[in-house]
Amino acid sequence: MSQPGPESARWFQFASSMNSERDSETTFEEDSQPNDEVVPYSDDETEDELDDQGPAVEPEQNRVNREAEETRETLRKDCTWQVKANDRSFHEQPHFMKTRFFCIKESKYANNAIKTYKYNAFSFLPMNLFEQFKRAANFYFLILLILQAIPQISTLAWYTTLFPLLVVLGITAIKDLVDDVARHKMDNEINNRTCEVIKDGRFKVAKWKEIQVGDVIRLKKNDFIPADILLLSSSEPNSLCYVETAELDGETNLKFKMALEITHQYLQRENSLTTFDGFIECEEPNNRLDKFTGTLFWRNRSFPLDADKILLRGCVIRNTDFCHGLVIFAGADTKIMKNSGKTRFKRTKIDYLMNYMVYTIFVVLILVSAGLAIGHAYWEAQVGNYSWYLYDGEDYTPSYRGFLNFWGYIIILNTMVPISLYVSVEVIRLGQSYFINWDLQMYYPEKDTPAKARTTTLNEQLGQIHYVFSDKTGTLTQNIMTFKKCCINGQIYGDHRDASQNSHSKIEQVDFSWNMFADGKLAFYDHYLIEQIQSGKESEVRQFFFLLAVCHTVMVDRTDGQLNYQAASPDEGALVNAARNFGFAFLARTQNTITISELGTERTYDVLAILDFNSDRKRMSIIVRTPEGNIRLYCKGADTVIYERLHQMNPTKQETQDALDIFASETLRTLCLCYKEIEEKEYEEWNKKFMAASLVSTNRDEALDKVYEEIEKDLILLGATAIEDKLQDGVPETISKLAKADIKIWVLTGDKKETAENIGFACELLTEDTTICYGEDINALLHTRMENQRNRGGVYAKFVPPVHETFFPPGENRALIISGSWLNEILLEKKTKRSKILKLKFPKTEEERRIRTQSKRRLEARKEQRQKNFVDLACECSAVICCRVTPKQKAMVVDLVKRYKKAITLAIGDGANDVNMIKTAHIGVGISGQEGMQAVMSSDYSFAQFRYLQRLLLVHGRWSYIRMCKFLRYFFYKNFAFTLVHFWYSFFNGYSAQTAYEDWFITLYNVLYSSLPVLLMGLLDQDVSDKLSLRFPGLYIVGQRDLLFNYKKFFVSLVHGILTSMILFFIPLGAYLQTVGQDGEAPSDYQSFAVTIASALIITVNFQIGLDTSYWTFVNAFSIFGSIALYFGIMFDFHSAGIHVLFPSAFQFTGTASNALRQPYIWLTIMLTVAVCLLPVVAIRFLSMTIWPSESDKIQKHRKRLKAEEQWKRRQRVFRRGVSSRRSAYAFSHQRGYADLISSGRSIRKKRSPLDAIIAEGAAEYRRTVAS
């Protein structure tokens, strides 16, 4: 804002008045109670927008004014993105170029080809190597390699490090290559899709990658939209265009977009499109899906553009034969690409731990090397200097020799840091991921969807989950509403009954074939209801279904005689569809008529008014005139609001009430239906008021509501419907399993409180004996807690140790249901927004600035305290349900728990609204198989059904965790046992950095001799079977508590390795002290000594992994004995005469193996060494298993008994339906319907309501839709 206009002047005034009025530290008590019904504020509302919506709303604002302001607003914002239609050269002008590198210029307009791959044929090798050497471990080995090339300090042959490093780099490079090839393929597939583009004056088929900004393109029905385009016109009336945004936000219901009137009028034909030369100025590309600001300049006029006219890449055109659009953002600039953005690189807890351990080892390495170097310097001074035979011609001082030896030891002891650690970890994780992909028990046959581990590096974290954050719709539920039961005239229908009202437990589905409009998908078992409809004995029954067919805002689409309903909410769709199946099919509608087929006879009714739904009214009504001339009002809505408006004389009121209770206890979503006859005169009167109200320009909604209220009274109750929001299979079982595994489940949903609560009961997250707390309850609790803390801590709050006290008395089963607005209230989120206002005023003096920062800091501290308290409180509850939360809040909740609980979190969801949360959580899981792919795309794991979560966590996660922990413990042990022998040997060779093994053995130890068994254990080990893992969820707790791999375990492994290395060295040492060979020759030479230790080491470590393996398959056995055999095989080869003749200096151990290993004495030494290494381990394991058996030990012990049990006793699940309590849910989804569109009659005639009003409403609705 460069020029402070009158508006900003007002701003300053306001800000300063606020400043003076209240303490700069805002308090939270003053606000009114948050509204549970509304979603707090749109997700992407930015700060400036919030500021813009200042408190002063001009009451006299009229349409012209608003339009003017809109233009001003667009101009004020920096609209620097300029697009000219049908003019490619315009976008290539030099001032649109930006410098990329020094002189390479590139257009700021991306072209439409997308590129997700990383390498091409030439860049692969250098770039991949560069990336790999960015990893600390690889770089470390590179440094070692360089050190080894320095002759003074080279203590190991060059190949000892190079060979393992090459293996490691090679494996990683191959993996990267395979990944990249897959990306190349995918990019190509997408870039080569085709659509029609105007080129040289007419439409031509072009590939997606050829499309450029400013192109005019034509899309047909069911086409994917290739770029972000401005809708110019379509085949539909008024250039409406329906799109499916499933890929963007996961919602399968259609959204409509509407072109500008001017483009609709003039840009229908090809020749007009080719000459279209509109110029667009709009905002720069961003990632906000529901926002777009721009202006179209055409024919010397300007037209404001908003998100409602933009078709986004990734959506699909539906129900529209063709449409035309102008490309505004292409390729990487499109909103979907901007949104996919960088995926945050997630790392597991074990990764962090492992890194710290590697650092620890590194420090140990340096210390040990330094110690030995000092030892060497001392030895040189004492012994070496006087040993004439050691004379090497160099005149180094002992301390310099010590310094050189420091590096020599760094090289020799480098294997303490396990070179193959990282690559082995990757391999194991990859293997685990494949096991997840292959798991048939996570494969969903109905949709042919297997589970997929999209991130292969997080598996063991699945075994450490503490908190699961779940979306509701589509995750816990199927998002399929089915008409289940109804209550007509006090009589409940929908149970299994035959036509004569006898109950049958097994009865066939009702056959709807008598009805030509039936879609055959409805499963209904009450034959008596059909009997009732067909006989027409009770008029109310027909009336009931007629109401369902007529009172709604569903759009219909008739293709090939098939009816396709397009409903604003799945509930409404389910009801209209049910009516259609029962013989009352809604066939067509115009702006003021509606055509219904009533049991075969088509009748058309005049629609006099549609009294649409909104969240306050919780009902909708329609007023129709029958062909006979009667006027009737039909209404459906939430029981609470309907019952208030019923006529006193309603005989079935009580019965219906009872039915509602029954439905609610079965967790069905209920709705009451009623009607009313209206006198012609009464209607006329009302219609006048209605017309008047609909012309009011301010607060029209309120005025209309008032008018609606007048007519919706004295209603006659028809009955109630019960819709099942079908839970996915196995959801309650999964939730109870996870709860037993001490995993807390939080449900985060955009749904209403009642719906969320209902689902909570349905999936047994909440039970009858749960005490439910709501926002207001905990707000009070939190408030007192804050007061206490403030009183106690005062200024020194930081220094007072936090007192751990619980919010609730222990022992009770408690659940928390909190809405988004309460969340904001409690977490002081709004207040930060408001404090922005304070910022507007520039601090004048130093003093002011200081006060300001101080208060800001205090506010931050308070906020943090608040958040922490809230998390503490929420975590005391066994279940938490957050309803009416925005995607941003979902992520915020996850983040809070992550931050303050330091626990591993998992988020599971299916829609675009869950993406934030999925990306924030440690592990994100997407439900696949639904149409929406965005959640899946940003997830780490995906599968088709919520119930697979238990298998993913309790089986795969647990196994992965145990395997990884065992693997790491063993890996550190093995390398310490191997490397530290050098250390012990130093004391006997003058600290001269002499190796205790042959160089080739050092080279191959990590890659060949000891890697396969541990890899296989990491891949295949299972302590208890998958069935038992699922049966005893308590086994999962070890992972949550980090019991199997932590610093303690790490040091135990190290000590174990150190002790092993001592045994490995000192027993052969004792045996070699003064011995001679069996035949008098070959006494105690260095090479035999090395072979003895190496053999003992190989046998020890391979037997040790054998001890660690609890699941011995033939592969394990084969690999363990294979590794030992391989060792001896290779050793005998390398020590053979043949290879020495070929490479005399590379293979110096000629004959050692054969000479040493034919001596029984050496074998006895090896045997003793191995026994001393392993027997204590056996003893300790046995004792600890006997004295402190772990949960899994116990289960393993009774494996056989448990298995037998399982076969005999298939546990019957006990369904305990509690006492029925009233949990009615309002069945409407929280969006409003298409009533505006229908009644506006835009499809037939315009005029009725101002154009931009519709647009504004549409935008609001779209925003709501996206936000939910």
């Binding site: 042919d448 004495y1161 394991r1181």
Partner: protein, 353 residues
């Protein structure tokens, strides 16, 4: 969950034991029935082995003599006195008299032992050229850099054999004399100086360069002996099969020791009357004292020893086996007690559950 093989989805994973992680497996449990017998059996076996080793080691006779010549320890002191610094090697001889009251059963081996001599020092142990030693003519003239500073003479002549190990070749020599009757003459006991190195060493690892005109000396022409050597490598022994790089003393020396105290085989006594051992009587070992060790505090010993199935005398292994075996048994009892004590408790726990 059921699925039919016929209506298989395109993405359905394979139902194999491997992919479903159902590979047949043995899940061993460290139960008492495995652990306790293991410890008792291992303990008994180890004690048995230990006893065997201990007694065989005890049955081995050893006779050793430190001839370093520290003042007042024998007649080698004179030589030792002269050994103040290392070059040039002095020529001095001394002798060791000893008598055997009874037969020293054969075969008897004669070793020399050095202490505080770091053949395993890395700097020292890499200073050799195995290519040269394998008799490659090119390597003979171009010794490897590792040999420095014994790679070339100051004159530029390549040293053969190069390197510090070769240069420091042990060059004391011994001869054994036997006095059959008291006061009688000393008869030289034949020392078998061949077959003291590994067959692979003398036949594979160490080879002489191809003869030039049938002469080994010519083959080594253009090379110089190591600085400490009084004579060139081809003159190490008059026996043509035991000279040059395949001289067995040299080969034995070149097989570096693992520890700073080591023995190397000098000769076997297995000829003539001495095939059954050294009969009782007085003996004399004549020592040519060349090798300087006192500078670095080393000792030189001469050792007579016989061997058993397990090699030379070394009580360590036998004792170690005995100790480990006893510990196993002890541990076995501890485990048994613990098992009995806790087994009941665990059962009770489960009953409570």
């Amino acid at each position: 969950m059921t699925w039919s093989a016929t209506a298989r989805g395109a993405h359905q994973p394979d139902n194999t034991a491997f992919t479903q992680q159902r590979l047949p497996a043995w899940q061993p449990l460290l139960s008492a029935s495995i652990a306790l017998p293991l410890f008792f059996c291992a303990g008994l076996a180890f004690i048995g082995l230990g006893l065997g080793l201990f007694y065989s080691s005890n049955g081995i006779k050893e006779l050793e003599y430190d001839y370093t010549g520290n003042p007042g320890t024998g007649n080698c002191s004179a030589c030792a006195l002269a050994d103040q610094d290392r070059a040039p090697p002095l020529r001095c001889s001394c002798s060791w008299y000893f008598s055997l009251p009874e037969l020293f059963p054969g075969p008897v081996y004669l070793y020399y032992e050095l202490t505080n001599f770091y053949q395993n020092n890395r700097r020292y142990s890499v200073s050799r050229d195995d290519t040269q030693l394998s008799g490659l003519p090119s390597a003979l003239r171009h010794p490897a850099n590792e040999c420095a500073p014994y790679q070339r003479r100051a004159s530029g002549l390549p040293i053969a054999p190069c390197g510090a190990i070769a240069n420091s070749l042990f060059n004391d020599s011994f001869s054994l004399w036997h006095q059959r009757q008291p006061g009688g003459p000393y008869v030289e006991v034949p020392l078998d100086r061949t077959g003291i190195a590994w067959w692979t060493d003398c036949h594979v690892k160490f080879r002489n360069p191809p003869l030039v005109n049938g002469s080994l000396a010519l083959a080594f022409r253009g090379t110089a002996p190591p600085p400490n050597w009084p004579r060139p490598v081809y003159a190490l022994s008059p026996d043509p099969n035991n000279t040059g790089f395949i001289n067995q003393d040299f080969v034995v020396w070149m097989r570096t020791a693992a520890l700073p105290t080591f023995r190397k085989l000098y000769a076997r006594i297995r000829q003539g009357n001495y095939s059954t051992g050294l009969p009782r009587g007085a003996y004399l070992v004549n020592i040519t004292y060349n090798y300087p060790v006192r500078a670095f505090g080393g000792h030189k010993l001469i050792v007579f020893s016989n061997i058993s199935w397990m090699g030379g005398k070394n009580p360590f292994l036998g004792i170690a086996y005995l100790v480990v075996g006893s510990l196993c048994i002890l541990m076995g009892f501890v485990m048994l007690v613990v098992y009995i004590r806790y087994q009941d408790q665990n059962d009770e726990d489960e009953d409570e559950e």
